[in-house]
Symmetry: C2
Subunit: 189 residues, 2 copies
């Protein structure tokens, strides 16, 4: 019954994003996504729980990558710099060559309240995971939570600028720039 489909997951993601952009997220069905990808609904549900999860499938692996990278930053690094280094490395790995995709995805999410909520939850989960990693590195509270929250704020702002820009400055660069700006802002200068 279940035959192997080359890159089924990627084809479904691509098809879903195309349809959400063309017709809107609410107006698109799983059947249509599967059809556009040349696959069956059954294959769709083998990869994703529902049509919302297609858009957030990457968030879990981003979080894993981030936590793994943060754990490896040299001990001497200040918490915020450990977070920033992890964000830059994860951004470089997860989003390189994905600007057009990220831009389209962001437009779909911004247009839908349910998707915006989901995005906030993923960011809160990222922050919690980072704070946890920092505590594992011996950082106390509230420093761990504040550094994690600040890091996610930097990521959010940098990501927002990245998807808005058409000239494609790279995301790690924008993260570094936003961190420098946050440092200036909190220094009160």
């Amino acid at each position: 019954m279940s035959r192997w489909e080359p890159n089924a997951r990627g084809r479904l993601e691509q098809a879903a994003l195309e349809l959400y952009s063309e017709r809107g997220y609410e107006q698109t069905t799983v059947a249509e996504i599967a059809k556009r990808a040349g696959l069956t609904e059954r294959t769709f549900f083998r990869h994703f729980a529902d049509k919302r999860e297609v858009l957030f499938a990457g968030a879990g692996s981003l979080e894993e990558l981030l936590v793994a990278t943060a754990a490896e930053v040299p001990d001497a690094a200040a918490p915020i710099d450990a977070v920033a280094a992890a964000l830059e490395a994860a951004a470089a790995a997860a989003f390189r060559e994905r600007h057009a995709h990220a831009r389209k995805r962001q437009a779909v999410i911004v247009a839908n309240a349910e998707l915006r909520e989901r995005e906030l939850i993923k960011l809160a989960s990222l922050s919690a995971a980072l704070a946890d990693t920092l505590r594992g590195r011996g950082v106390g509270e509230p420093a761990a939570s504040l550094a994690a929250e600040a890091g996610v704020a930097v990521f959010k702002v940098a990501f927002g600028r990245w998807v808005e820009e058409t000239n494609q400055r790279d995301l790690p660069h924008l993260i570094r720039e936003s961190l420098a700006e946050l440092k200036a802002v909190t220094a009160g200068t």
Copy 2:
């Protein structure tokens, strides 16, 4: 038909929080809340859209208070200090004498995914409103967004500590302390 009920809103909030704490949020109905408050369901719906909104009714006024205070901070203040001053003032006004209530409310929210999502949305809305106020004060981007996000992170961490503590250090004090900690964390010291 509709007679005036003294402090109907406050009685409904109180009754709802008691029932959510005793039986759980999901197990409580609007009919039960109205009954506990000695009021009718009709009165409930004159004040709140649904049982979820009882918990978030204060968020709108907190946001208004925050924006009004941030707009009045002297121009010479750095963006982050304007945000912090507004947070402290709003916290003093909105949460004084409300520790027991806030603590109970937090326990209800933490226990329910839907309510946690709602809380994140309210915080994101707070951050957007603050960034908007800062831009109105002539602060550019991304400084405005970063100061607003950092301010909300400080508030979130301080509020979390405040509701966890039983010794009741006051919230404005914890906000000042968390801001100082954020400044230390981002300075990389």
